[in-house]
Amino acid sequence: MTFEVVMAGFGGQGVMLMGQILAYAGMVHGKQVSWMPSYGPEMRGGTANCTVIVADEAIGSPVVAHPYAVVALNRPSLDKFESAVRPGGVLIYNESLISTPPTRSDIKVVAVAANQIADELGNVKVANMVALGALLEVTDLVPMECITEALKKALPAHRQDMLAVNLAAIERGKQAAEIP
């Protein structure tokens, strides 16, 4: 099987890191993985997205026109990628910054108030992890222990204390995605 995920948001929302964590976790899980960033034409304060692929077979293109899942952290990202999701796929969107919900009915749409939840956790920077949690909940792409290991690797030595809040964010994201 091959799963492609596009994660998109404003620069600074941490979509790149979120994608790298997922790819790393996939590798730990023994899968073929790839991660590919893309920066919008507005390089500053603009939008950014990355594509992560987790697959059993060798990966061809690291970018895809129609991913299995999209995580949209802001409005422009949703506008850009809603139509791209493959029928039967998954769309996670950040309710905190997107007021009008997506309209697609042939895919699974999950709203998660990523910023709000992150705020509640006392660190708005982990909004990305909340969204990642939602994705993991809905797709079961990689087991949670792989994500945990990936996070440990990703956090530099002097920031290992951030592990807990990141894991908590993922957990809250999972819970948020359970409800609907």
Partner: protein, 252 residues
Amino acid sequence: MAKVFARPESLVDMQNHYCPGCTHGIIHRLIAEVMDELKFADRAIGVAPVGCAVLGYMYFACDMQEAAHGRAPAVATGIKRVVPDGVVFTYQGDGDLASIGCAEIVHAAARGENITTIFVNNGIYGMTGGQMAPTTLPGDKTSTSPYGRDTHKQGFPIRVAEMLATLDGPAYIARVSVHSVPNIVRARRAIKKAFEYQIAGKGFTLVEVLSTCPTNWGLTPLEALDKVAKDMLPYYPLGEYKDVESEAGAKK
């Protein structure tokens, strides 16, 4: 009610792409203000650099050319020779002007080419993600001086205004800053003088503007203004380095 301050007309009414708090935006506005005041937008031809200001061609309400990285002075020379009564300016970053485009700016200055250069010195390569610039301060960490700029291996910052002031060609060379409102007012004055000199045909003019890059400096916009005041000013003293009208050209 009277307008005390409004967006200048020569600044196209659109959102710019600069990071929050980046002073590129202030410098753009000052140029536009001077264009408005001296009323030369309809004969201005600007040259945008490769750098964060690469999209500058969208923002000024005048004819624009987008130059190759570092070559804006050469492009401007080509333009000025064809349109001698145009008001031609380049807008260049420190990577663009002081590194790859070093020969072009020295020679435009030496030729006394009748153009105006606005030189935005933020001590870093903003657009490409924070690499060391020729103007990066000793000890400063950047993505290509991760252990801090080591002058022994990576050399010393270039003081462009001082260097170009040794030449006979320039009519006006000044260094200003935009890290505070009074300095912004002074910067505007220098930019105005530079354009006035060009319009009067006095020769090459350059205004070096100390600027911030909060994103790649890893500071908040306000902290970045502070860094200009505390770290940059001592290395890059403000003042007029050359002024053909007061030939002492003394640093003020």
